[in-house]
Subunit: 205 residues, 2 copies
Protein backbone atom coordinates (compact mmCIF):
# COMPACT_ATOMS: atom_id res chain seq x y z
CA UNK A 1 0.00 0.00 0.00
CA UNK A 2 1.20 3.47 -0.87
CA UNK A 3 0.39 5.80 2.04
CA UNK A 4 0.58 9.53 1.59
CA UNK A 5 1.56 9.92 5.26
CA UNK A 6 4.20 8.29 7.46
CA UNK A 7 1.99 8.80 10.51
CA UNK A 8 -0.87 6.94 8.86
CA UNK A 9 1.44 4.20 7.63
CA UNK A 10 2.89 3.77 11.11
CA UNK A 11 -0.55 3.60 12.74
CA UNK A 12 -1.79 1.08 10.16
CA UNK A 13 1.29 -1.08 10.69
CA UNK A 14 0.82 -1.06 14.47
CA UNK A 15 -2.91 -1.79 14.33
CA UNK A 16 -2.42 -4.62 11.84
CA UNK A 17 -0.16 -6.40 14.38
CA UNK A 18 -3.31 -7.30 16.30
CA UNK A 19 -4.61 -10.81 15.68
CA UNK A 20 -7.27 -11.10 12.98
CA UNK A 21 -6.72 -7.54 11.74
CA UNK A 22 -5.16 -7.13 8.31
CA UNK A 23 -3.81 -4.02 6.60
CA UNK A 24 -7.15 -3.12 5.04
CA UNK A 25 -9.09 -3.32 8.31
CA UNK A 26 -6.29 -1.44 10.06
CA UNK A 27 -6.57 1.36 7.49
CA UNK A 28 -10.35 1.45 7.97
CA UNK A 29 -9.89 1.74 11.76
CA UNK A 30 -7.20 4.43 11.41
CA UNK A 31 -9.41 6.52 9.09
CA UNK A 32 -12.29 6.05 11.52
CA UNK A 33 -10.14 7.44 14.35
CA UNK A 34 -9.27 10.46 12.20
CA UNK A 35 -12.96 11.25 11.79
CA UNK A 36 -13.63 11.08 15.57
CA UNK A 37 -12.92 13.77 18.18
CA UNK A 38 -9.35 13.69 19.46
CA UNK A 39 -10.48 12.69 23.01
CA UNK A 40 -11.73 9.34 21.70
CA UNK A 41 -8.32 8.41 20.37
CA UNK A 42 -6.47 9.55 23.47
CA UNK A 43 -8.82 7.66 25.80
CA UNK A 44 -8.41 4.52 23.67
CA UNK A 45 -4.63 4.90 23.74
CA UNK A 46 -4.64 5.54 27.48
CA UNK A 47 -6.88 2.56 28.23
CA UNK A 48 -4.65 0.09 26.42
CA UNK A 49 -1.43 1.58 27.82
CA UNK A 50 -2.81 1.44 31.37
CA UNK A 51 -4.15 -2.06 30.84
CA UNK A 52 -0.71 -3.31 29.90
CA UNK A 53 1.31 -1.36 32.45
CA UNK A 54 -0.91 -1.50 35.53
CA UNK A 55 -2.64 -4.86 35.36
CA UNK A 56 -1.74 -7.44 37.97
CA UNK A 57 -2.25 -11.15 38.10
CA UNK A 58 -3.82 -12.53 41.28
CA UNK A 59 -0.97 -14.15 43.20
CA UNK A 60 -3.20 -17.03 44.29
CA UNK A 61 -5.16 -17.97 41.14
CA UNK A 62 -3.24 -16.04 38.41
CA UNK A 63 -6.46 -14.47 37.17
CA UNK A 64 -6.31 -10.92 35.80
CA UNK A 65 -6.86 -8.47 38.63
CA UNK A 66 -6.38 -4.83 39.61
CA UNK A 67 -5.03 -5.86 43.03
CA UNK A 68 -2.73 -8.43 44.64
CA UNK A 69 -5.65 -10.82 45.14
CA UNK A 70 -8.56 -10.99 42.69
CA UNK A 71 -12.19 -10.36 43.67
CA UNK A 72 -12.96 -14.07 43.66
CA UNK A 73 -10.04 -15.13 45.87
CA UNK A 74 -10.80 -12.22 48.25
CA UNK A 75 -14.48 -13.15 48.58
CA UNK A 76 -15.05 -14.99 51.91
CA UNK A 77 -18.14 -16.71 50.46
CA UNK A 78 -16.06 -18.59 47.87
CA UNK A 79 -14.70 -21.97 48.86
CA UNK A 80 -10.90 -22.04 48.42
CA UNK A 81 -10.88 -25.83 48.85
CA UNK A 82 -12.65 -26.41 45.52
CA UNK A 83 -10.46 -25.21 42.65
CA UNK A 84 -11.49 -25.11 39.02
CA UNK A 85 -8.54 -25.29 36.60
CA UNK A 86 -9.11 -23.17 33.48
CA UNK A 87 -7.10 -21.98 30.53
CA UNK A 88 -7.55 -18.22 30.70
CA UNK A 89 -9.63 -15.35 32.03
CA UNK A 90 -12.30 -15.84 29.37
CA UNK A 91 -13.12 -19.24 30.84
CA UNK A 92 -13.39 -17.69 34.32
CA UNK A 93 -15.84 -15.15 32.90
CA UNK A 94 -17.86 -17.88 31.16
CA UNK A 95 -18.17 -19.98 34.33
CA UNK A 96 -18.89 -16.93 36.50
CA UNK A 97 -21.75 -16.02 34.17
CA UNK A 98 -23.48 -19.34 35.00
CA UNK A 99 -23.57 -18.43 38.76
CA UNK A 100 -23.30 -22.19 39.42
CA UNK A 101 -19.80 -22.31 40.87
CA UNK A 102 -18.95 -21.27 44.43
CA UNK A 103 -15.33 -22.41 44.53
CA UNK A 104 -12.22 -20.60 43.30
CA UNK A 105 -10.13 -20.83 40.14
CA UNK A 106 -6.63 -21.55 38.98
CA UNK A 107 -5.80 -19.89 35.67
CA UNK A 108 -3.13 -21.80 33.74
CA UNK A 109 -2.54 -19.13 31.12
CA UNK A 110 -2.79 -21.59 28.24
CA UNK A 111 -2.50 -25.25 27.36
CA UNK A 112 0.56 -27.42 26.81
CA UNK A 113 1.06 -27.17 23.06
CA UNK A 114 4.42 -28.23 21.61
CA UNK A 115 3.27 -27.03 18.17
CA UNK A 116 3.08 -23.46 19.49
CA UNK A 117 6.18 -23.90 21.64
CA UNK A 118 4.22 -23.84 24.93
CA UNK A 119 5.59 -26.27 27.50
CA UNK A 120 4.54 -26.95 31.12
CA UNK A 121 6.96 -24.29 32.38
CA UNK A 122 5.21 -21.57 30.41
CA UNK A 123 2.04 -22.21 32.41
CA UNK A 124 1.23 -21.85 36.10
CA UNK A 125 1.26 -25.63 36.66
CA UNK A 126 4.08 -25.50 39.20
CA UNK A 127 2.16 -23.12 41.47
CA UNK A 128 -0.94 -25.35 41.19
CA UNK A 129 1.04 -28.43 42.20
CA UNK A 130 2.50 -26.49 45.14
CA UNK A 131 -1.03 -25.56 46.29
CA UNK A 132 -2.09 -29.22 46.08
CA UNK A 133 1.06 -30.27 47.94
CA UNK A 134 0.35 -27.84 50.77
CA UNK A 135 -2.95 -29.64 51.36
CA UNK A 136 -5.27 -26.61 50.99
CA UNK A 137 -7.23 -28.13 48.12
CA UNK A 138 -9.95 -30.79 48.52
CA UNK A 139 -11.25 -30.97 44.96
CA UNK A 140 -9.65 -30.05 41.65
CA UNK A 141 -12.03 -29.59 38.71
CA UNK A 142 -10.51 -29.73 35.23
CA UNK A 143 -12.35 -27.36 32.91
CA UNK A 144 -10.00 -27.19 29.93
CA UNK A 145 -11.32 -27.51 26.41
CA UNK A 146 -11.49 -31.12 25.22
CA UNK A 147 -8.90 -30.83 22.48
CA UNK A 148 -5.68 -32.76 22.12
CA UNK A 149 -3.81 -29.96 23.97
CA UNK A 150 -6.44 -29.72 26.72
CA UNK A 151 -6.36 -33.48 27.32
CA UNK A 152 -2.55 -33.49 27.36
CA UNK A 153 -2.51 -30.67 29.93
CA UNK A 154 -5.11 -32.41 32.10
CA UNK A 155 -3.11 -35.62 32.03
CA UNK A 156 0.19 -33.86 32.78
CA UNK A 157 -1.27 -32.11 35.82
CA UNK A 158 -3.03 -35.29 36.93
CA UNK A 159 0.27 -37.20 36.90
CA UNK A 160 1.95 -34.46 38.98
CA UNK A 161 -0.72 -34.36 41.69
CA UNK A 162 -1.54 -38.09 41.78
CA UNK A 163 0.72 -38.77 44.84
CA UNK A 164 -1.21 -36.24 46.98
CA UNK A 165 -4.61 -37.99 46.81
CA UNK A 166 -6.80 -35.03 45.92
CA UNK A 167 -10.28 -35.61 44.50
CA UNK A 168 -9.95 -34.77 40.78
CA UNK A 169 -13.02 -34.25 38.62
CA UNK A 170 -13.69 -32.94 35.15
CA UNK A 171 -16.69 -30.98 33.88
CA UNK A 172 -19.48 -33.06 32.29
CA UNK A 173 -19.39 -33.53 28.54
CA UNK A 174 -22.71 -34.25 26.89
CA UNK A 175 -25.46 -33.02 24.64
CA UNK A 176 -26.02 -29.28 25.11
CA UNK A 177 -29.32 -28.25 26.70
CA UNK A 178 -31.84 -27.68 23.93
CA UNK A 179 -29.89 -29.66 21.30
CA UNK A 180 -31.44 -32.41 19.17
CA UNK A 181 -29.94 -35.88 19.66
CA UNK A 182 -29.87 -36.65 15.94
CA UNK A 183 -27.45 -33.80 15.20
CA UNK A 184 -25.03 -34.57 18.05
CA UNK A 185 -21.67 -36.10 17.20
CA UNK A 186 -21.29 -39.71 18.29
CA UNK A 187 -18.42 -39.16 20.74
CA UNK A 188 -20.43 -36.60 22.72
CA UNK A 189 -23.61 -38.68 22.57
CA UNK A 190 -21.66 -41.77 23.62
CA UNK A 191 -20.14 -39.97 26.61
CA UNK A 192 -23.50 -38.55 27.65
CA UNK A 193 -24.97 -42.08 27.76
CA UNK A 194 -22.03 -43.61 29.64
CA UNK A 195 -21.99 -40.75 32.15
CA UNK A 196 -25.76 -40.63 32.68
CA UNK A 197 -26.95 -39.23 36.02
CA UNK A 198 -29.97 -40.00 38.22
CA UNK A 199 -33.04 -38.18 36.85
CA UNK A 200 -33.74 -36.51 40.20
CA UNK A 201 -30.33 -34.80 40.01
CA UNK A 202 -31.19 -33.15 36.70
CA UNK A 203 -34.23 -31.52 38.32
CA UNK A 204 -32.12 -29.67 40.88
CA UNK A 205 -30.63 -27.08 38.54
CA UNK B 1 -19.74 -9.48 30.73
CA UNK B 2 -18.36 -9.81 34.23
CA UNK B 3 -14.74 -8.61 34.21
CA UNK B 4 -12.49 -9.28 37.13
CA UNK B 5 -10.61 -6.05 36.45
CA UNK B 6 -11.69 -2.45 35.90
CA UNK B 7 -8.62 -1.84 33.74
CA UNK B 8 -9.57 -4.73 31.47
CA UNK B 9 -13.19 -3.63 31.35
CA UNK B 10 -12.16 -0.11 30.44
CA UNK B 11 -9.82 -1.28 27.68
CA UNK B 12 -12.47 -3.63 26.25
CA UNK B 13 -15.05 -0.83 26.26
CA UNK B 14 -12.67 1.51 24.44
CA UNK B 15 -11.59 -1.05 21.86
CA UNK B 16 -15.18 -2.08 21.15
CA UNK B 17 -15.98 1.52 20.12
CA UNK B 18 -14.07 0.85 16.90
CA UNK B 19 -16.28 0.00 13.92
CA UNK B 20 -16.83 -3.72 13.33
CA UNK B 21 -15.29 -4.72 16.67
CA UNK B 22 -17.67 -6.15 19.27
CA UNK B 23 -17.09 -6.87 22.96
CA UNK B 24 -15.87 -10.40 22.34
CA UNK B 25 -13.29 -9.38 19.74
CA UNK B 26 -12.25 -6.46 21.95
CA UNK B 27 -11.64 -8.88 24.84
CA UNK B 28 -9.61 -11.14 22.55
CA UNK B 29 -7.48 -8.17 21.44
CA UNK B 30 -7.01 -6.94 25.03
CA UNK B 31 -5.90 -10.39 26.20
CA UNK B 32 -3.55 -10.58 23.22
CA UNK B 33 -1.95 -7.27 24.26
CA UNK B 34 -1.49 -8.62 27.79
CA UNK B 35 0.50 -11.56 26.43
CA UNK B 36 2.81 -9.32 24.36
CA UNK B 37 5.84 -7.33 25.59
CA UNK B 38 4.90 -3.95 27.03
CA UNK B 39 6.74 -2.08 24.22
CA UNK B 40 4.24 -3.41 21.67
CA UNK B 41 1.31 -1.88 23.50
CA UNK B 42 3.02 1.44 24.08
CA UNK B 43 4.11 1.74 20.44
CA UNK B 44 0.54 0.95 19.33
CA UNK B 45 -0.87 3.56 21.70
CA UNK B 46 1.72 6.11 20.61
CA UNK B 47 1.09 5.50 16.91
CA UNK B 48 -2.63 6.10 17.18
CA UNK B 49 -2.26 9.12 19.46
CA UNK B 50 0.29 10.71 17.12
CA UNK B 51 -1.83 9.89 14.08
CA UNK B 52 -4.77 11.77 15.55
CA UNK B 53 -2.87 14.71 16.99
CA UNK B 54 -0.21 15.37 14.35
CA UNK B 55 -1.82 14.50 11.06
CA UNK B 56 -2.49 17.31 8.64
CA UNK B 57 -4.70 17.58 5.61
CA UNK B 58 -3.12 18.91 2.42
CA UNK B 59 -4.37 22.47 2.05
CA UNK B 60 -4.69 22.09 -1.71
CA UNK B 61 -6.29 18.63 -2.18
CA UNK B 62 -7.41 17.78 1.41
CA UNK B 63 -5.62 14.45 1.25
CA UNK B 64 -4.07 13.11 4.45
CA UNK B 65 -0.52 14.38 4.75
CA UNK B 66 2.31 14.91 7.21
CA UNK B 67 2.98 18.37 5.80
CA UNK B 68 1.12 21.47 4.57
CA UNK B 69 1.11 20.12 1.02
CA UNK B 70 0.89 16.39 0.29
CA UNK B 71 3.52 14.47 -1.68
CA UNK B 72 1.33 14.43 -4.79
CA UNK B 73 0.58 18.18 -4.83
CA UNK B 74 4.27 18.91 -4.15
CA UNK B 75 5.47 16.69 -7.00
CA UNK B 76 6.43 18.88 -10.01
CA UNK B 77 5.79 15.94 -12.38
CA UNK B 78 2.10 15.83 -11.50
CA UNK B 79 -0.25 17.95 -13.60
CA UNK B 80 -2.26 20.29 -11.33
CA UNK B 81 -4.58 21.14 -14.22
CA UNK B 82 -6.12 17.63 -14.24
CA UNK B 83 -7.94 16.97 -10.97
CA UNK B 84 -9.51 13.68 -9.98
CA UNK B 85 -12.36 14.07 -7.45
CA UNK B 86 -12.48 11.18 -4.96
CA UNK B 87 -14.29 10.35 -1.75
CA UNK B 88 -11.42 9.63 0.62
CA UNK B 89 -7.76 8.74 0.96
CA UNK B 90 -8.43 5.06 0.24
CA UNK B 91 -9.53 5.99 -3.28
CA UNK B 92 -6.34 8.03 -3.76
CA UNK B 93 -4.33 4.98 -2.72
CA UNK B 94 -6.28 2.72 -5.07
CA UNK B 95 -5.75 5.04 -8.07
CA UNK B 96 -2.08 5.64 -7.17
CA UNK B 97 -1.55 1.88 -7.16
CA UNK B 98 -2.54 1.72 -10.84
CA UNK B 99 0.29 4.17 -11.80
CA UNK B 100 -2.00 5.34 -14.63
CA UNK B 101 -2.80 8.82 -13.37
CA UNK B 102 -0.43 11.77 -13.62
CA UNK B 103 -2.77 14.52 -12.46
CA UNK B 104 -3.65 15.56 -8.89
CA UNK B 105 -6.58 14.84 -6.60
CA UNK B 106 -9.32 16.57 -4.70
CA UNK B 107 -10.48 14.58 -1.66
CA UNK B 108 -14.08 15.35 -0.75
CA UNK B 109 -14.05 13.57 2.60
CA UNK B 110 -17.26 11.66 1.87
CA UNK B 111 -20.41 11.78 -0.25
CA UNK B 112 -23.56 13.81 0.13
CA UNK B 113 -25.78 11.50 2.14
CA UNK B 114 -28.87 12.97 3.82
CA UNK B 115 -29.50 9.56 5.49
CA UNK B 116 -26.21 9.88 7.40
CA UNK B 117 -26.67 13.61 7.93
CA UNK B 118 -23.87 14.55 5.52
CA UNK B 119 -24.64 17.66 3.48
CA UNK B 120 -22.55 19.57 0.90
CA UNK B 121 -21.09 21.78 3.64
CA UNK B 122 -19.58 18.80 5.45
CA UNK B 123 -17.44 18.07 2.40
CA UNK B 124 -14.71 20.06 0.66
CA UNK B 125 -16.96 20.98 -2.27
CA UNK B 126 -16.67 24.73 -1.65
CA UNK B 127 -12.88 24.67 -1.96
CA UNK B 128 -13.16 22.60 -5.17
CA UNK B 129 -15.57 25.13 -6.70
CA UNK B 130 -13.20 27.93 -5.70
CA UNK B 131 -10.33 26.16 -7.47
CA UNK B 132 -12.46 25.77 -10.61
CA UNK B 133 -13.50 29.42 -10.39
CA UNK B 134 -9.89 30.58 -10.20
CA UNK B 135 -9.29 28.91 -13.58
CA UNK B 136 -6.38 26.66 -12.58
CA UNK B 137 -8.22 23.47 -13.55
CA UNK B 138 -8.56 22.24 -17.15
CA UNK B 139 -10.17 18.85 -16.52
CA UNK B 140 -12.18 17.50 -13.59
CA UNK B 141 -12.51 13.71 -13.38
CA UNK B 142 -15.30 12.35 -11.19
CA UNK B 143 -14.20 9.10 -9.56
CA UNK B 144 -16.85 8.61 -6.88
CA UNK B 145 -18.52 5.26 -6.40
CA UNK B 146 -21.57 4.81 -8.61
CA UNK B 147 -24.14 4.65 -5.83
CA UNK B 148 -27.11 6.91 -5.28
CA UNK B 149 -24.98 9.12 -2.98
CA UNK B 150 -22.05 9.18 -5.40
CA UNK B 151 -24.29 10.17 -8.31
CA UNK B 152 -25.98 12.86 -6.21
CA UNK B 153 -22.60 14.30 -5.21
CA UNK B 154 -21.36 14.26 -8.82
CA UNK B 155 -24.49 16.04 -9.98
CA UNK B 156 -24.34 18.63 -7.19
CA UNK B 157 -20.73 19.50 -8.01
CA UNK B 158 -21.46 19.50 -11.74
CA UNK B 159 -24.26 22.05 -11.26
CA UNK B 160 -21.94 24.29 -9.22
CA UNK B 161 -19.11 24.33 -11.75
CA UNK B 162 -21.23 24.34 -14.92
CA UNK B 163 -20.92 28.16 -15.41
CA UNK B 164 -17.13 27.95 -15.54
CA UNK B 165 -16.85 25.74 -18.63
CA UNK B 166 -14.37 23.18 -17.36
CA UNK B 167 -14.02 19.82 -19.12
CA UNK B 168 -15.76 17.35 -16.81
CA UNK B 169 -15.27 13.60 -17.24
CA UNK B 170 -16.11 10.51 -15.26
CA UNK B 171 -14.13 7.27 -15.00
CA UNK B 172 -15.21 4.51 -17.40
CA UNK B 173 -17.75 1.99 -16.14
CA UNK B 174 -17.71 -1.38 -17.81
CA UNK B 175 -16.97 -5.06 -17.54
CA UNK B 176 -13.92 -5.65 -15.35
CA UNK B 177 -10.81 -6.95 -17.13
CA UNK B 178 -10.92 -10.75 -16.97
CA UNK B 179 -14.65 -10.99 -16.22
CA UNK B 180 -17.06 -13.15 -18.18
CA UNK B 181 -19.81 -11.28 -20.05
CA UNK B 182 -22.51 -13.74 -19.00
CA UNK B 183 -22.09 -12.95 -15.29
CA UNK B 184 -22.05 -9.16 -15.67
CA UNK B 185 -25.10 -7.18 -14.54
CA UNK B 186 -27.08 -5.66 -17.40
CA UNK B 187 -26.56 -2.01 -16.39
CA UNK B 188 -22.79 -2.39 -16.49
CA UNK B 189 -22.86 -4.42 -19.71
CA UNK B 190 -25.23 -1.87 -21.26
CA UNK B 191 -22.93 1.01 -20.36
CA UNK B 192 -19.88 -0.79 -21.66
CA UNK B 193 -21.57 -1.24 -25.05
CA UNK B 194 -22.83 2.33 -25.29
CA UNK B 195 -19.43 3.71 -24.25
CA UNK B 196 -17.36 1.44 -26.49
CA UNK B 197 -13.94 2.72 -27.55
CA UNK B 198 -11.84 2.29 -30.71
CA UNK B 199 -10.05 -1.08 -30.56
CA UNK B 200 -6.64 0.54 -31.14
CA UNK B 201 -7.09 2.57 -27.95
CA UNK B 202 -7.52 -0.59 -25.88
CA UNK B 203 -4.12 -1.80 -27.08
CA UNK B 204 -2.30 1.22 -25.65
CA UNK B 205 -2.59 0.28 -21.97
Amino acid sequence: MDFSSKLLENAVNEISQLPGIGKRTALRLALHLLRQPEENTSSLAEAITKLRSEIKFCKRCHNISDFELCEICKNPNRNPEVVCVVEDVRDVMAIENTSQFKGTYHVLGGKISPMDGIGPNDLTIHSLVEKVKSGTIKELIFALSSTMEGDTTNFYIFKQIEPFNVLTTTIARGIAVGDELEYADEVTLGRSIVNRIPFENSLKI
